[in-house]
Amino acid sequence: MSKRIALLGMPNTGKSTLFNRLTGASARVGNWPGVTVDLLSAKILIGGDMVEVVDLPGIYDLHGYSDDEKVVRHFLERQALDLLVVPLNALQLDRQLVLPLQLAQLGLPVLVLVNMMDEAKTLGIRIDTQALAAGLGLPVVAISAKYGLGQAEMQAALKSALQISQGMAAGAATPDAIDASPDAIAARKRLQEDDSLEDKAAALSRSAVDVPMQLPERFSDKLDRVLMHNVFGLPLFFLAMFCVFAGVFWLGTPLQDAMKWLFDLFNAHVLTPVLAGAPELLRGFVVDGLYGGLSTVAAFVPVIVLFFFFMAVVEDSGYLSRAAYLMDALMVRLGLDGRSFVMLLMGFGCNVPAIMGTRVMRSRALRLLSMLVIPFSLCSARLQVFLFIIGALFAPTQAPWVLLSLYLLSFATAFLTALIFRGQKHFRSEEPFVIELPPYRLPTLRQVWMRGWLEVSHFLRRASKIIVSGVVLVWLLTHLPSGVEAASAASYAGMIGHWMQPLLGPLGIDEKLTIALIFGFVAKEVVIGALAVIYSLEGDALAHHIAGSLTLIQAYSFMLFCLIYTPCLSTIATIRSESRSVGFAVLAVAWPLALAWGASFVFYQVASRLLGG
């Protein structure tokens, strides 16, 4: 039978990094307490045995109440394990020894890894692992998961710990006391038990950890004086975010052109000649439908890759916790907290992980309100739609400002939504806001690469099926019933567009754009592909055509609608599963739709009156 080990530890002790180190696969690495929400697992060889490694969410102790702590408890209640691997932050041993002591008391097989030894060395902190091991009664190895220090010792320790382990049955780590019974006497008792463990932990850390009398001032402290500054902090933060988005834009554009060029080359020299003899309908379907749609979408992959590389750096740097600090004063007035703001920002990559990230919040009300506002984040899929349309219609000097205005509107709609809904009984929360502030860290290239690669491959895997089926569906709707002129009024798509006109006409959104919007409901990745099929043009030709057939006001109104209405089916599905409420999911679709319609309507009517467009 194959063996199983689980990584268990406080948030931000380097569990994800360790998991990557152990398995070579890539889990999500984030310098944000509790970001690891999925249970990642991988099979590796330890001492000739196949061993499954599971990465559990970060928890503060076995008695907690957050969703993450419940996930961990459920896992431990149901799964038999051979070994618990507990990474600790070497710099915080004074408070991290309680968890391994709890586990040791239960007599479980545990291997303790004192992680971040590189940082401890820099600060001159010396740790006597033998004294620790003796005090805990558990094997202890010092490592740096990030830089690979102590790898060999860790492997050896894993091997011998697995050899002597008798295994632990499901539920062994969660005896009755831990089922978090809410009654006050049990609660008091737990706190008292923890207090006695705490004394033991404190004594142990005093005897095994040697901290210099005067810690050298950390680089982090100096940086914080600037980046968390009461006046400069926020402007600097927005500047940094602007640089990220601008960097993605400027670096991405040439790459995008290169991608387009490659696809055109393939089309001209391979696809078209090969299909020269095929029947007209098939050729149209493959070249104009499938390939045209796909190549237009593929041109945006470099931008998405870049975006995730940048976000990996920002996320791992620890800056997001500072953002939470800076923004909390504002967010609390909206009924949210600093973390909601950070999730909102994560949503700029993709709404789906951002919505899952709200699990770190304990109060359901706060989670729901956060989940309601996150879909307004201008995600990378919407970004590609906007990049295309802005590139086609606006002068290069205007382009960044148009894009910036959309980002600002994205915040504005999110904040407005929070303001409107925060008073409702379902969204009012008394969740405390207490989070850890990690030091600044520079991710290694390996971390950035793995993270970026992971996100992109996830994105492509998740999106490619939807994109292909979306593009095919659009082609069919625009070319059937057979014999009609593509996307003309007689096609199915034309009929739907026509039927929706009374609703969308007043927004300046014509029949063809309506069809694109309908497909955008499935996924924004499909919108440009759909336009390519609808106009049976692609790349530059499509851009030219759109520039010729739309006014700037119409284009902006279209983008507004795209920005605000439902992000995509995957987001809706995630909201539904995370909130466990169909009613809430319906609200999360209906409200943005109404808001999108209202905003585009007002914008289009006012702007075309004023500017005579």
Binding site: A187, L191, V211, D224, M228, N230, L330, P432, L437
Partner: protein, 76 residues
């Protein structure tokens, strides 16, 4: 004489004498190292009545003022 964490000036530190919080918050504070007897230092306060940045031992924590109000300190 006791005072509240919210009244401690940035740069100053004091010992925690009591934590008056509901159990869940109490637990979370303990896990983060905020315990009776520990020395706590206020690093800075965010503007617009925003949260506090405090340090206990080697751990830096952000805590909202309304939550910080439950922490009682020995006045210097």
């Amino acid at each position: 004489m006791t005072t509240r964490l919210t009244t401690l000036k940035p740069g100053n530190s004091a010992a925690i004498t009591a934590i008056h919080a509901a159990e869940a918050l109490h637990h979370r504070l303990n896990a983060l190292g905020l315990r009776v007897g520990k020395q706590i230092q206020v690093m800075r306060q965010a503007s617009f009545h925003g949260p506090l940045h405090v340090r206990v031992g080697s751990t830096d924590i952000i805590i909202r003022r309304s939550d910080a109000a439950c922490i009682e300190l020995r006045a210097a």
